[in-house]
Point group: C2
Chain length 401, copies 2
């Protein structure tokens, strides 16, 4: 009788032979196996796995798509949400992925996307890495088959967040929490507060029909401990809440939607397009999507959160004043704008024509609101460029209104 | 030099050997390959692929989850949205899937979920069927590698919609359009109007950052031809719009969200929970989700649509009047209710207690609004059950108010 090790050796050999044969067929058919690609190309050919992503540039959505290769992301928990999250990032051509989980693939996971029955018994991170490398060999992987909440592992986890960037010894660009318990969320929260690391939290309800994502920027937004869930606030041991023979419900739909929202907002944040949602909920029964933004709690239990709040306020205070006001004004228009109310410009096309007269030298971020129409000799006293007042005087006048 | 056929034979043999070895390892490890399961069970064990789905019953979300095995669904187009849609339905344990596509897997598809590089060159329906059967051998498959828009294929396509149900010679329960062009959408629309077949349309924009799903019930809601897109209305040949060396952008995120919305609403419709959305949009840049419902166009170009409208109105008119009013009233509360305004019951717990007195025999769909509280000898003149008036008299009184 063969041992598991011997059988696994046979399997590896068989898999290699199968891959060789597959390659031969693909060569004959003129289709290629996915080889590493040194530089992303926008060329529209069937063999280019990046053509549909690079098209985001021509479509005017993303300015510099290739930059995605410079980012490193830690995904904590590669279950129903985390595995799909990692697959999306892999297919998008992310530079590097760090995967953390200590669970094994079971047939009971087959109601969610990603894992397949033949992987049952493998550790989730091992199974995920194998599949993801085959999908995109350009992505760099680091996988850790351990529980981040134990003392030793937590220290190692923090080190990998701090030093696991795409560039040597730089931090990762984002941490994504895709775990299914509060203890792990609190561990991620603690690490990110201490490191000042931005992260996304995600979750799906026990009845499988709602979920959410939340973007947490230490010091700027509410952290996970600022308004803790009841279980956390009461220091309840979650394990005591689990009943024998009872499990949470889950659906591949809800989990894929949450993973989709998560990675979409990660892409918007990293590649600078659209508006990043600070909180986006998904109520599947009604197809309702609440959004909100929460400020940090000055009495947060986490000392590092309070420290990050102080640092954030100091950074804000140090910013040039005009620019700060401008940014806040813009933010007010877009955030929490869930009814999608649009501000329609009252400037006519004629008014918006290029300025003809002298344009004053302006601080960065400030533009002239009205310019002199081309074919009109306007009353010069009405034009900003001809006024006797300085821009600062005008600003003061406006503020006093 | 071996031919493709010979190589493919070797691959099949190698794959079988590999599967044998894998089974041996799994037996030694005590993990099992996914064998067909005769009856869905709610047992919470690692080897049960349905435990998390059957938990929807205990959570009070779905009354009869096992019913999913009695449904048959046709998925037209198994690309970025359709493949993920088919995978979700497979993992949920749908009874039967009919897949239609005539495209091949290419490396250029690798920026979306589902297909893997080693499948490049295979037809999409063949690759999809293989993967899906391995994930869930309980699902029945019919796959068609052809273009539904040619005359012969269209007739066959219609026959499969009409006769491809889970029960022999019954129609499918739903058709899901996951195609990427208007010609195919119009073909599906034509078939479903003629057959009176409910279907879902789905789509993702060329710039990859928005998408939608739409539920179309012939005669009841607007069909695809009732308010046709410009390309259709002007009879433009889409192929003339494509430019050499230019392709549409796509993202795995947007496509998975659209597939998630699609299958979630399919599940709500089939298993009768939550509210089915008639139209749900996804604007990824702003995380904005428009909903709406459109009535059919009495001047629709499609004669079968106009006929279905007439049949629908006849069916509505034939319904018992009381029930019609009841249904419409309920619908008005939930539909287009995108601000999620809830109606809070003003009935107290005491008032809602089981009736004590005689309950009148009521028409189906009508219930007694107030019942006699248990521990209270109420003034009998106030109770419906003791009034001299018949229910019909009461209804008339109420209508005249």
């Amino acid at each position: 009788m063969a041992t598991i090790e011997e059988l696994n050796k046979t399997r590896v050999e068989l898999r290699e032979k199968l891959e060789q044969e597959t390659r031969k067929v693909q060569e004959l058919k003129g289709t290629a196996k996915r080889e590493p690609i040194a530089k992303m190309s926008a060329e529209v050919v069937d063999s280019n796995p990046y053509s549909r992503l690079m098209a985001l540039k021509r479509m005017g959505i993303v300015e510099d798509y290739e930059k995605i290769r410079s980012f490193s992301i830690a995904v904590v928990g590669v279950g129903g949400v985390g595995s799909v999250t990692a697959e999306m990032l892999t297919r998008c051509g992310i530079g590097k992925l760090l995967l953390f989980d200590y669970d094994k693939v079971e047939l009971a996971n087959m109601n969610r996307l990603f894992y397949q029955p033949h992987q049952a018994g493998l550790s989730k991170v091992e199974a995920a890495e194998r599949t993801l490398r085959e999908i995109n060999p350009d992505v760099e992987f680091e996988v850790y088959n351990y529980n981040i909440t134990t003392v030793d592992n937590f220290q190692h986890f923090m080190d990998r967040i701090r030093l696991g960037g795409k560039e040597k010894d730089k931090p990762v660009d984002l941490v994504l929490s895709c775990v299914d318990n509060f203890e792990a969320r609190m561990a991620i929260n603690t690490a990110c507060n201490e490191l000042g690391q931005s992260w996304f939290e995600s979750g799906v309800s026990e009845n499988a029909v709602s979920g959410h994502i939340q973007f947490i920027v230490p010091g700027d937004t509410s952290c996970f401990a600022c308004a803790p869930p009841l279980v956390v606030a009461t220091h309840t041991d979650e394990r005591t809440l689990k009943k024998e023979g009872v499990c949470a419900a889950s659906l591949p739909t809800t989990m894929a939607v949450v993973a989709g929202f998560l990675v979409q907002n990660v892409l918007k944040y990293l590649l600078k397009f659209g508006q990043v949602s600070y909180y986006l909920g998904y109520n599947a029964l009604q197809d309702y999507f609440p959004t909100m933004r929460m400020k940090p709690n000055p009495q947060c239990d986490d000392t590092h959160c309070r420290k990050q709040q102080q640092l954030f306020q100091e950074r804000e205070a140090a910013k040039p004043k005009v620019e700060v006001e401008k940014v806040e004004e813009l933010a007010a228009v877009h955030e929490d704008n869930e009814w999608s109310i649009e501000i329609v410009s009252e400037t006519t096309a004629e008014e918006a024509q290029a300025a003809q007269g002298d344009v004053p030298s302006l601080t960065h971020g400030v533009t002239v609101a009205y310019t002199k129409p081309v074919q009109q000799e306007a009353d010069s006293s009405e034009l900003v460029s001809n006024t006797e007042l300085s821009l600062e005087d005008l600003m003061k006048q406006m503020q006093s209104l």
